[in-house]
Symmetry: C4
Subunit: 277 residues, 4 copies
């Protein structure tokens, strides 16, 4: 294969290169993966509407997001455990986003720590993705570390009180490879995500440590412990969008978690039509 | 193959394990199997509509069906001759339903008898599926045995005065294997379903013994011989649903018989929209 | 392969058995065969709407067509040169239709003559399909022979002033095999359909002998030379259906000529919706 | 393979015969080629609506286009560098169009010059496709040469200020083969389209020489330097069609550039519905 020149080329390269355990974790949707397939297919329902005879010598696709000037309407969403793909993991992606002038969102369950990422991309626009643990002190410390490290927003994931059933992970009995750790929890018990379980160790981790009781009222608690703007990730309905506004958050990310949570959820992009003025 | 973790895995296991005669009987739809394919495909037209930030630490999907508390809105429909797949046949499925707290419906043309199933799952919610034989005495005795054995409802199949043309069964000249019997008819002539015919022995059996003259008025006769609630299985139109209510039955099962009766019937799940308030 | 038990089995048998020249003639649609494919696919848009609990011990699907009692709403449409498939050709099909109590329509360009077919199936309901030749005397004689042989209707094909471009026939340089003749034209020059041409000899035959000037007013001429009812085959629009009624014909056959004339014509069955009261 | 008898046959022949560099240039659409695929598929949404019993002995599909009598509603659109496919290149196609009585449009970036084509097809209806170079003198000379050579209209391409990303050309690092030149620019620097670049040399050529500032007001300039009618190629919206009329051009060509410019533009033929009275 020559140089990769489009996203499919990178995907094919990954299929040839990554170990099965990591590849399957990255590529899998929930269940029969219908939502994952629909996520891609849904874009084919949209057409770019071309106009002609405009001066296009100078073009500008930058946008303002949460008060930040961003070079393009594309950023890097939080995805977990990126060092399974490359030793530089989240640090490399944060640097790339910094170089491109766009946003990088770090996952709570990353393999590079909040501080490592901040050091790798000090001038980049960095947001921190948050899960709320049953032990609220864990979340409080994550928020505090993100604030101190210069992260500029918190992205609370609201669509994953439990993790989706991704069949390949269950078949592989997914574990985080032994040389990697959940970097934000070094030395704590949460690192038993490296130990083999009956199914996916990640699902086991999530189901045992995340707080499944979280409700709208808990947004107030999160607001009480931080000055950072809060963005909710995983909203798919306008009712929830209105509740989010009422709860005083700064933004939402319309997402079905990459088709990884519940199969037969609607395609993310198809839901945007419900949010138009 | 590893442990089965989804329904497709069980299906694939069956394809590798079962004898052709039995596998084809279980898997075949009528004709060119368009309705069978549509039965599955129709689910892709539905989307789960996710809401977020609800306390989901405790969840409950139990429902009340015919006055019974059932642990989930899924039960085991009547399918014939289950011992072709495993020596425990209907008894095993009845026990599984009992353990899961849901309903098991025993087929008239089962390979375990009414009494065997009752003994295997004494505490389970058991219903008995009924065909009406030309010899009404046969039906009367089946009803009486089901009542005595603790079955709690009768499920009259109304979409099968003749049996569908399932091409694989015709090609296989389907017979019930010699070591198995229609267990509810031990020692009667109805067991010649084991003898090879020009086509499927089951179709021959049905066409010669079932009563093709059954009409709405015959529901009254069935009511006159039992105290059990009567449920009609195989209704696909709201007109028939209204007639069922007028006939005084206790419920209906919207079904196209698994696509096994007439090809080009509509998908079962797609018909539910006609029954909404 | 075992006994054929459905239409697909017969089709597969034909694919294994027939010489390429004949098989391609029978199976081909015009152009890229989209209309041929749509003709089949269009049926999947229709659903049989099942009702239940009706006495079906006695069923009757007979209909009355042009005053004739026909055992089922299915007959045998005219197709040309049937002896390429079997030595008994049109005579066998006419006998089959007679035995089944339904209609057989003999093609003008058949390999069994009007008289042979009449002798083979004397009690059957036989109609004669007509093309109008430039030499009107040819048509006059065909009509006269059909009348004397006991055919009960004339089926004038109105969708084929030229014949469709069927690519396989052009590639094969289709000819009628030398041992066969257009049986209604024995000893006339029209039999040079056996001689190899640049493309399909049949298209050459049609284009050189059929009358491309035929218009609605020519129906009057046809009516003037026969007492038989006239049926127009190849109507696809309700405007043409109304003109047919105004022209005093006895019936129409809604057909796109099996997708063999012009690719991208609509599917025959889909057009029926335009003819409903 | 026998004689080619349909367009697909010619396409297959090209796939077997042409060098990869040339074949890929001719066949590729932009990006993932969805628009290219839709361009073809969109035709399947249209049906020919057949009428019958019309005198079709004499038929005429000629049309009048820009005051010219054209034998059929099909002409030859401008495509670049045709000598990659055959030594006679654009001259052969111009002769074919002349023989068929229809229009030939010569590309600016052709491998036969304006004058060669004029000499090859002196009586044919020839139009000249125009790109506007940053160096307006280049365009002025092209227009002047087309006028003197008897071309009867200018076709200004308005959908290609930049050229589309055609992945195969990028992978091939497309160059014009060394024995060929952009014939309208012999001896000028523009011929460095033969030199290998990081990606497609054509994109490099276009992006460095074409004027990306062109706007509607530049139509006035083009009108000021020619008496020939101006036709805009690449309009897909009725708003742009109205602006074209307001700008005083003589016609438009509704086109998405063969799906070669921006993937997810709508299919060309599907846009025609927006232009109906």
């Amino acid at each position: 294969m020559g140089e990769p020149i489009c996203i499919k080329d990178f995907e094919e390269f990954a299929y040839k290169t990554l170990p099965r355990n990591a590849l399957d974790y990255y590529r899998s949707g929930a269940g029969q993966q219908e939502t994952l397939a629909n996520n891609k297919r849904a874009y084919s329902n949209y057409r770019i509407r071309p106009r002609c005879l405009r001066n296009v010598a100078e073009t500008d696709i930058s946008v303002t997001v949460q008060g930040e000037h961003v070079s393009m309407p594309v950023g890097i969403s939080p995805t977990a455990m990126q060092r399974m793909a490359h030793p530089d993991g989240e640090c490399a992606n944060a640097k790339a986003a910094q170089d491109m002038g766009t946003i990088f969102i770090l996952s709570t369950i990353s393999t590079s720590s909040i501080e490592e990422v901040a050091e790798a991309a000090p001038r980049g626009i960095k947001w921190f993705q948050l899960y709320i643990y049953r032990d609220r002190e864990v979340t409080r410390q994550l928020v505090s570390r993100a604030e101190h490290a210069g992260f500029r927003a918190l992205v609370l994931t609201v669509d994953a009180p439990f993790f989706g059933l991704r069949l390949a992970d269950i078949r592989n009995k997914f574990v985080l490879p032994p040389h990697l750790k959940l970097a934000n929890f070094q030395g704590t018990k949460s690192t038993d995500i490296n130990k083999s379980k009956a199914g996916s160790s990640l699902n086991d981790y999530v189901n045992s440590l995340f707080d499944q009781t979280i409700e709208w009222k808990d947004i107030a608690w999160l607001k009480s412990i931080t000055k950072l703007p809060i963005i909710l990730k995983g909203i798919l309905n306008f009712e929830d969008a209105i509740m989010a506004a009422d709860a005083g958050v700064s933004g939402i990310i319309v997402s079905n978690h990459g088709g990884r949570q519940v199969d037969t959820w609607p395609a993310s992009v198809s839901q945007l039509r419900h949010f138009q003025g």
